[in-house]
Symmetry: C2
Subunit: 442 residues, 2 copies
């Protein structure tokens, strides 16, 4: 096997969930810092890592950017009366985002901050922490309650179709939808939250926060594939977006072709070409139930061994899945409804999405368990903030998750509570604002 | 002025909130990593920092331990029928904690994890991340609903008095109380949450999770005093627990005398001597209201300048507060109800507590604003998880917060939603379990 467990620095940037990009649907983001080795007792000096990510460019940052350790995702409802007000908001957001991603305040400060607040100040001294801000447009920007509020209905991309109601969906309004969204990723949770707060303040009168979710990713000490809250390695099957550096090109894992599966092309409205569609799912995991489940059964659910990450019956994390192998009784070694089978390329006609997910932990809520002992009480409100980018959700997430929602064994432990679909337009060049081409055409 | 804005490495360990230890009551924890310099564009190699903290010892770790960047705090209700079951739980917890704080699984794993789960596995590969686990006993261990469930009522310390109902308290059961608590602090949020999950699983049949709160602290790039979510520096007035290294002893800030203000002594039951009392408050901050407030007014509320952290009228963060200074009209320069005045030593007869607080961000909730525009809708459920240790809460937190709860100008923006008081017993020596002396005497 090539690849091995200790990937060279840089090789794990921007994992792509392969054909069946949800395998595992429950992945946490990959943190650049996680790829830096630490010794057992001392944190070794990490390789120098940039603390700023670019803002201006053909594509928005925060999509192919190596995943930061924290996310603060926010969805907004538009209350602006006319298209010009929406455009003005996007200009304010763009200007503030360009500053904050450099580690600056949302707007220039007055002397000693003793003038009207232009920035809440809680990220002063924290640097950029690799902040990226990625903006998206929900269906409600184009049409809401049957109304073409901003004269943009004709510009709605066909790919921004409403997500279907999937089997098992338990969506609540407080974690679902939104006319606009911002994905703030940073290596410091206070930096990410700060950015969202400034954008929310700049939206007064034009848009209001609808829902907000923070999340985190684990940081393995030796660059291993990160594990999700279920304890399984997550991202093993994902193709890589850049050839491993200093590795002699030995990896056999498939490469991402962004132009093919990530960026909207000629099929999209002009303003959207070079952009990508974001699917968001807030997936609660029944950790109490999972923690009562024997490891053997957990491994049947995933179709992989827990500690090594190898396919059932295998020994190496990066072994190919043998979906045809059977045991002495003629049963599949990797069960028919195993999560890894659901996500395997052979199961999804090659559909691909770029996954960028984070775990979340919002404490306890009064909930009822779906499984014995059917306890009602304070249960974990924790799980996965699933974030995935793709050229077209109809041939990406929807294609992959339709079958998965019906038969994936993991569904016993996972409940989709929130959902969103957003068209993230192409990046802005300096002087433009995000989505400008849409408004010039609208 | 001595001290200066850039403290030498190590000098900010274990800040103590001075007389009026709540100044500011809204502080985030201090992260060791935050004291390591980073250049503007590159994260410089940090000084080698230990990734494990000791577990065994005279005092529990997680009290004087330099604050980690994340916390997961959990409170439990006891359902055990008899004292032996509680003691057995504490032994299980102690054994698991000793392992996990070394970066090990909660119990030894079977081959390739393919036996019944003894650990959920989500912290494999993550190392210890400086995990500390600090255990506390709530009043309910000693008496609940008038019942002496475990024959321990006689051992209840006088200092474990029920907290009074403070002015403005808006406590809800879902964030209040608990018979037992665990404070898990680590430099990786997944490590902290993992530890709580294992302890919760080990408690099946003996104790159930009651509430859980995760939090984070900011990590300033050049070792500045961290800012809270209100954007003010927090911890400026705190005495230090160790002399600054390589600094020639130039700091004039008061030192902590742990034996005097932190550790319970002869006045306490034997099992509690060397322990400390933990007050927890979940304090929601009205960030929308704060973000609409002019900086001038914010500075009047705090009694300090926002950017520099200097007392009003001053220039240096570490200038002493002049509580007698008046302006040309005879008004106090630092207003009578300013937060900094409330927290000043002169205002609290020298009361001291050791503060170890974190910010939290739990997204949005449907809430009503208390102030114009009196909007009801989705508002931030974010603020401060206030954690403070002391030798006696009656002369510590209660003493300080009684006046503060009535007149602190900051109360306009802060609502105490949750609360807890716990007796954290002395540390355990290898082979003992936490609280063992209590059960041998009970």
């Amino acid at each position: 096997m090539t690849g091995g467990k200790r990937l060279p620095f840089g090789s794990r940037r921007g994992f792509l969930a392969a054909a069946g990009g949800l395998a595992g649907a429950l992945g946490t983001g990959v943190d650049l810092r996680g790829a830096q080795a630490k010794s057992a007792d001392q944190a070794a000096a990490p390789a120098a890592a940039p603390v700023t990510e670019p803002f201006w460019g053909d594509h928005q940052s925060g999509i192919l950017t190596p995943a930061q350790s924290h996310v603060c995702f926010a969805a907004f409802d538009l209350v602006a009366g006319k298209a010009d007000d929406v455009a003005a908001l996007l200009r304010r957001w763009t200007e503030a985002a360009a500053r904050m991603t450099k580690g600056e305040t949302a707007a220039p400060l007055g002397t000693d901050l003793s003038v009207a607040a232009v920035d809440s100040g809680d990220a002063l001294d924290l640097g950029a922490a690799r902040l990226t801000l990625t903006f998206g447009f929900g269906p409600g920007l184009f049409i809401k309650d049957g109304k073409d509020r901003y004269g943009l209905t004709a510009q709605r991309p066909a790919a921004l179709a409403d997500l279907p109601a999937f089997t098992g969906d338990q969506l609540v309004a407080a974690h679902t939808g939104g006319d606009l969204c911002v994905q703030a990723c940073a290596d410091d949770p206070q930096v990410a939250f700060h950015a969202v707060r400034q954008l929310a303040r700049l939206a007064y009168g034009a848009a209001e926060l609808r829902w907000l979710q923070s999340g985190f990713s684990a940081e393995p000490t030796h660059g291993e594939t990160p594990r999700n809250l279920l304890g399984f390695k997550d991202g093993t099957q994902n193709p890589i977006t850049a050839p491993p550096k200093g590795h002699g090109g030995g990896s056999t894992r498939p490469m991402l072709a962004p132009e093919k599966v990530l960026w909207a092309g000629e099929e999209a409205p002009v303003w959207m070409r070079g952009g990508s569609y974001l699917v968001v799912r807030r997936i609660r995991l029944s950790l109490e139930h999972w923690d009562r489940t024997e490891t053997d059964f957990q491994e049947q659910v995933f179709g992989r061994h827990k500690k090594s990450g190898a396919p059932l019956g295998g020994h190496d994390e990066f072994e190919p899945l043998d979906l045809k192998a059977t045991d002495k009784d003629g049963n599949f070694v990797i069960p028919e409804n195993a999560h890894a089978r659901m996500g395997a390329p052979a199961s999804n006609e090659g559909a691909q999405i770029l996954r960028r997910s984070y775990s979340y932990n919002d404490g306890l809520k009064f909930l009822a368990e779906r499984w014995p002992p059917w306890r009602q009480g304070m249960l974990y409100d924790a799980g996965l903030l699933f974030l995935a980018y793709q050229r077209d959700p109809r041939t990406g997430f929807i294609k992959i998750y339709d079958m998965m929602s019906k038969i994936d064994a993991l569904n016993q432990y996972a409940t989709h509570i929130g959902s969103g679909l957003f068209a993230c337009p192409r990046g802005a060049m300096e002087g433009e604002f995000i989505g400008q081409a849409l408004f010039k055409m609208g």
